[in-house]
Symmetry: C2
Subunit: 494 residues, 2 copies
């Protein structure tokens, strides 16, 4: 079967390019010398051109189409993969090449421009570029539209297969109803936190020692990954045997490195626990952003911020920072970590208020892609929506509409997966508790039992199942936002 | 001129592949997780195949040939480059593809096998593979031989253009005559060294602080490079704006990190100070291994081990390690750093005895490639030659013929450039002293004046000049080994 052979040979080649593109990006974000970035960009452009040429080669396209017509001759995983690749062909077939290339050029300049505008609190500087990006997104939606998938739905589906406005509207409406007033109530009379936790400073080397300790606690395999630092923490994996993570050490914020490390470890573990049989295929990796985020959030918030966890590990933290935390009690630390407040910046938001930040962005994106509002309206609408959901109003665009990188990189439809991930996480955690005694596993310092459960029910499948299938396998139910609501209310009502 | 256009377009592409191959290698040697290496090898093999296909594409080959026929229509640098590339074509045209591929497969297994044999002190384990490698090298010489370039000369010329047995024989005969007895004399009654310097231990974090300090002293630009750790220190550069170095911190050896850092800094500086106009060409980099080594050795030994240097910087070393070195005087430290002894291991050899280690290897390689001796004879011949030149005899092959990685990677003709580099360095240093007051520059902590000189006379030219041309530009004379002999005798006769 020569089409299959051609497909597999090309896949092997493209996997190698994927690897080098991944490595270039990892290097640039963690250590490449500053003045090397321009040289690197030129090489990246050449490699991207090579990839495009291979992917759009007519024999490769024909092989995918032909295999797609005879799916039943293929094994299950290959069927899934071919369906996925066949769907990807729409970008090559339906998006005019010129428009695509012009857009890539636009994107290569837009991120630095956004950063400058954010730095200078100057929305007008970025607005014309953002307008072009939005224009492209609106056109993209038209190029790609299908009978049952149009408008913003099409973008949402790219990030979370099968999740469109209907599902998200229901999700966010539930949150709006259940959480907006609840948050105001919980954050009304904030309890004062221990000054030693609030003030620091926290030695960065000691934070590093503790982060490495945490990775041991979570059985993060250093022979298949590593921990490094970067300006913004992230996970970057390319195979089950190479999944790297970063964190950052802030002198004035002890919680930042602790929970960034656990969060990224959660992402990393997902890909490390993918069945290695997917390493050489396109099915390696997380099945969606939402499921990915469910794992990082579950490990970070539900395990990492639990009392059971710190009953075991708080002593070690005190030891590493001795004598700084000697008179800070476990309860002080619990209050500090699980403190909630209505603030302006998404990435600094706590577990309870986080979803409200996402609601703001979902509302705005929906209206922006539909053409209901325009780029020049954004600052005012942003501030109004923050006032409506969080009861606070940004005084600058730096702290408002310019705070996130996503739109400058053309990511529309991405934000909602953050909130969805947290909500998935609550439902998955609930299901896991029915199978194993999670609290006891944490208290016994036996996180491996939890990792085994997530591997069996989620991680091993990589991209061979859709997000909806994963939720059914892991929780035996379709997604239901009330698990999340109940979890948050149960925790913060106290 | 369409041939030129095709050549330049292909060069742009190949430079991008060069970049990603470089990055894969840098990553593997500094941080890639252990279990990722097999996956990485597969991707590397695919990329190497892509490079081979582009390099051997008949249109590209034709473009080079056609440009080579009309050299005078090209600018000077392009002429040099085309001559170089035209010469490289011999590998594609004269070496049978099957033999080449079989050899690459052999090499992919030979290094780990050598490491195992070295670890187990089992030469027989490695001998059959080494025999195959030597066989290929002997055949290679036959495939490529030219009227005036045959046998071992052909291999030597690959590493140091224009340097063949005639030149090397003269060089090593001079050293043999001048140094063998001198070394025995100097190392006869070793002066005892300060126990605090010999015994350590030296905190690795403090060594790191001092290495970073040294890089500042030498004006190594962190925006175009970085310092990391690896098992064996090395320099890895790909453009003048990205030249990275590594060092290693041994708890029981303070000199190791200090002089590894300066040595690699010397290599790094050479490529950083290449004229940036060569970045996008094949002329970026050092012109030969020998000239490269002349820079690392000159900075390491002539500047880095000088009394003037430590008169300025020894206080800082004491400060970083305080109070460990408080009662170790500058003279104690000078004795420690410039101590000479006849030992068995090349990479641990001191400045004076180093060339004798190389002489052993040169003698053996010459006879091995000519067929005068065979692989199975190596252990005995190795030990006999050490006894002849250094007066000591290895008791194991681990400490003898198995100590170096080079032959397992197919590098024959490489070793002699190490000694040649030191000798170049002495002659270059002598010339520099005629132009600027080097000692005063060191005492004024103004190494930039030295860097400016090396940039002007050597570094800027990258590969646009041959090693012989560089020696003439920098020293106004052809290479003369007596500068090296006189330097060593002047220093060690004291």
């Amino acid at each position: 079967m020569t089409q299959l052979k051609h497909y597999l040979e090309t896949r092997k080649k493209l996997k190698a390019y994927e690897y080098v593109m991944w490595l270039m990006s990892w290097d640039a974000e963690t250590e490449a010398p500053k003045k090397a970035l321009e040289y690197r960009s030129k090489q990246l452009e050449v490699m991207a051109g090579e990839v495009y040429a291979i992917q759009s080669d007519k024999h490769y396209v024909q092989a995918i189409e032909s295999l797609h017509e005879q799916l039943d001759t293929l094994d299950k995983d290959l069927q899934t993969e071919i369906k996925k690749e066949f769907r990807e062909l729409r970008f090559i077939k339906k998006v005019p090449k010129d428009a695509y290339i012009a857009y890539q050029v636009l994107l290569s300049k837009s991120v630095p421009l956004w950063a400058e505008a954010k730095h200078k609190n100057d929305f007008k500087l970025f607005a014309p570029t953002l307008k072009e990006i939005v224009e492209y997104q609106r056109n993209l939606v038209k190029y790609l539209e299908e009978e049952h998938l149009k408008g913003y739905d099409l973008l949402l589906d790219m990030y979370e297969e099968g999740f469109t406005q209907k599902e998200y509207d229901f999700f966010f409406d539930t949150l709006k109803k259940e959480l907006v007033d609840f948050v105001k109530e919980v954050t009304k009379d904030p309890k004062p936190l221990h000054p030693k936790l609030v003030n620091g400073p926290f030695d960065q080397d000691k934070q590093k020692v503790f982060s490495e300790y945490l990775l041991d606690v979570f059985f993060y395999d250093r022979e298949r990954g590593l921990l490094k630092t970067s300006e913004h923490p992230f996970t970057s994996g390319v195979t089950s045997v190479d999944t790297r993570i970063t964190t950052r050490y802030l002198e004035d914020n002890l919680a930042s490195s602790i929970f960034s490390t656990i969060h990224e470890m959660g992402h990393g573990l997902y890909e490390m626990q993918n069945d290695p049989k997917y390493d050489d295929t396109y099915l390696h990796g997380g099945t969606s952003l939402g499921i990915h985020e469910s794992q990082s959030r579950m490990y970070e918030n539900m395990i990492g911020r639990s009392k059971a966890f710190w009953q075991v590990h708080y002593k070690k933290l005190q030891e590493v920072f001795a004598p700084q935390l000697d008179d800070v009690t476990l309860d002080d630390f619990m209050d500090y970590m699980n403190h909630s407040a209505r603030t302006l910046i998404r990435v600094e938001a706590d577990e309870l208020t986080y979803a409200l930040h996402i609601m703001v962005r979902y509302d705005i994106e929906k209206r922006l892609i539909s053409g209901d509002i325009e780029v020049e309206d954004l600052p005012k609408i942003w501030n109004d929506t923050y006032e409506a959901y969080l009861g606070i109003r940004p005084s600058t665009d730096t702290e408002g509409v310019l705070q996130d990188i996503h739109w400058s990189g053309g990511s529309f439809g991405y934000f909602p997966t953050y909130a969805l991930g947290s909500a998935y996480g609550a439902q998955i955690y609930d299901a896991m508790e029915k199978d194993i005694d999670v609290d006891q596993a944490i208290k016994n310092n036996n996180i491996q039992a939890i990792n085994d459960w997530t591997k069996e029910h989620i991680h091993q499948y990589a991209q061979s199942k859709t997000p909806k299938e994963i939720m059914l396998i892991a929780t035996k139910k379709p997604f239901d936002p009330m698990y999340y609501v109940n979890y948050l209310k149960g925790k913060y009502a106290k």
